[in-house]
Symmetry: C2
Subunit: 281 residues, 2 copies
C-alpha cells in the first residue's frame, strides 16, 4: 500500500490501474479511522479491484469555532489500519495541495442542505460538496463509499452526483456501533468517561424510535416527542435537533413512510454527536 | 455525424471512442453557430480525434428579464455547420435532461465572478460554471474550447478546472470578427441595420485601446478614458462597463502589464454586446 500526498501521484496510479482494466473505489475520510470506516473499506475492497482511502481533514467544511484544530489525527495508525484491510492507496494531501493559492470555486446545493445539520453548520455542506467533487475528479472512482451515520451527507452526495451527471455510484453503508450502542465516531474520543455514558442517550433514542415505527406508528410527532423526552432526561445532553425528514429531500415530514429519516444532533458537554435511523416499510 | 439528446447516448459514444484510444474534444455552445464557433470546432478537430459540440441554451445562466426566450435557435442549420467542419457528435439536450426534477446543486466561484459581467448579470456565472461542470462530467473531454470573446468566462472556466482538479485542458481561441471589426456573436442578429452600424464603436474602442497600449501607455485610466470617450460619442451606445482588470483574477488594475484585460459591455439599443482585448508585453 502506498501513501501519497499529491494529486499527480493519485492520477498516475489510477491511470495504471485503468490500463490494466481494474475497477477503482474511493473511501473519503477525515482519518482517525475506526471500524465504521473499516466497514466501508472492506466493502469497497469486496466490490472493486482497487481501493483508495483519502484522509483529509477538510478545513472548508468546518465553521468558525468548530473543532478543525482539535480534530484527532493519527496517520501512522490509519495507514496500518488501511493496509490491514487491503486498501491499495492512501491519499493524504495538505490543505495547500487541495486549495492552491487563489482558490475561489465551490460546489453547493440548496434544499437538502438547508435542514438538520445545515442549520447549525451553515458552511459545512458547501465544504463537503466541494471536497467530494474534487476527490471524485482526482480519483475518478467507479464507486465511492459513505456511512449512513452521516445520513444527510449521504443524501446530499447522492443528489450531487445525480444533478452534476458524475459517472460514479455512491454506496451507503450501515452505521457501525460500539457494543453498548453508541455510533462509532472519531469525535467519541473527545468524551470524558462520564460523558461517554451520557452519550448513550443518542442510540437509546434511536432504538426507541425504531421500536415505535416498527410497531406501526405513523405520526412522526409522536415518535419524536418520545425520543426527545428520553434525551432530555439526560442532564449532560443538550439537543441541537431531533427531526423526521424525507430521506431523499431532507424536508421535514409529519407522516412516517418508507424512507423517512429520523435524525438527531445532540451536544454531550462540548461534543456534538449525531445519530439516525431510516424507516423501511 | 450524430445528433443526440441524452446524457446516456453521449457517454456510450465517448466510451466507444475511448476504447479505440481516441482523444475527445468538447466545444460547448448555445447554438446559432457562427464563424467564431467554427474556429473552435476546426481547432478542436485539428488537435483531437473526435469533437463533440454541445448546443444548449442554458436557462440557468440567464437572469430574470434577460433574453432566454428570444435567444436565436436553429438546430438544422447548426447541424449542417458542424458536419461541414468535421464534428463527430452534437449533444442537444432538453432543459429537463440537464436539470432533472428536484435539481438543486450548483457550482460557483467568488472573486473572478464579482467583476465585469458578474456585476450586471449576478446569476450568470453560476449558471456557466454549473453547466460546464456538468458537460465536462458527461463528455469527459481531453480538451474543451472556449472563445476569448467571453474573456471573463474563459478565465473563470480555467480557474474552475484548476480549483476543482478536473482532468482536462481549457483552450482559449482568438476573437473572430466581421470584416468591419464587429466581434461575431449570435446576439448580433438582434441588431437593426442602424444599430449594426452603431455597434462598431465596440471594436473601434478595442482598436484604439490596442494602439495605445502597444505604443507603450502604462496607465489604464488614460486608455480607458479614451475608449469611453469614443463609445460615448455614439448616441445609440450605452456603456454597461469598460474596465481594465488582471487577466487571471479579473480584479481592476490601474497599471497596464502583460496579461491586463480591457473588457467592455455596451448596450446598442436593447442588445448588450461585449468585446475585449488582452495586453501582451
Amino acid at each position: 500500500m502506498k501513501v501519497v500526498g499529491t494529486i499527480k501521484e493519485v492520477r498516475q496510479q489510477v491511470k495504471e490501474w485503468r490500463k490494466a482494466g481494474e475497477s477503482v473505489a474511493l473511501v473519503p475520510t477525515m482519518g482517525y479511522l475506526h471500524e465504521g470506516h473499516g466497514s466501508l473499506i472492506t466493502r469497497a475492497k469486496n466490490e472493486n479491484d482497487r481501493v483508495v482511502v483519502s484522509i483529509f481533514v477538510n478545513p472548508m467544511q468546518f465553521g468558525p469555532g468548530e473543532d478543525l484544530e482539535s480534530y484527532p489525527r493519527d496517520l501512522e495508525k490509519d495507514s496500518a489500519f488501511c493496509e490491514n484491510l487491503g486498501a491499495d492507496l492512501i491519499f493524504h494531501p495538505t490543505p495547500e495541495e487541495m486549495y492552491p493559492e487563489g482558490f475561489c470555486s465551490y460546489v453547493d446545493m440548496s434544499v437538502l442542505t438547508e435542514e438538520l445539520c445545515g442549520q447549525s453548520r451553515p458552511v459545512h455542506f458547501r465544504g463537503v460538496c466541494t471536497v467530494c467533487s474534487k476527490l471524485f475528479h482526482i480519483v475518478t472512482p467507479d464507486r465511492a463509499y459513505f456511512g449512513q451515520k452521516d445520513a444527510q451527507q449521504l443524501a446530499i452526495i447522492k443528489r450531487l452526483v445525480l444533478d452534476m451527471s458524475m459517472d460514479l455510484q455512491i454506496v451507503g453503508c450501515p452505521i457501525i456501533r460500539e457494543k453498548d450502542g453508541l455510533a462509532k465516531s472519531s469525535r467519541n474520543t473527545y468524551l470524558s468517561e462520564e460523558e461517554r455514558k451520557a452519550a448513550l442517550v443518542l442510540s437509546k433514542a434511536v432504538s426507541l424510535g425504531e421500536q415505535l415505527t416498527k410497531a406501526g406508528e405513523n405520526d412522526a410527532k409522536v415518535v419524536l416527542d418520545k425520543m426527545i423526552k428520553l434525551i432530555e432526561a439526560e442532564p449532560m445532553a443538550k439537543i441541537d435537533y431531533v427531526k423526521a425528514v424525507d430521506g431523499l429531500t431532507m424536508q421535514q415530514t409529519d407522516k412516517i413512510t418508507d424512507g423517512t429519516l429520523f435524525a438527531m444532533a445532540v451536544y454531550i458537554g462540548k461534543t456534538r454527536l449525531i445519530d439516525n435511523f431510516s424507516v423501511s416499510r
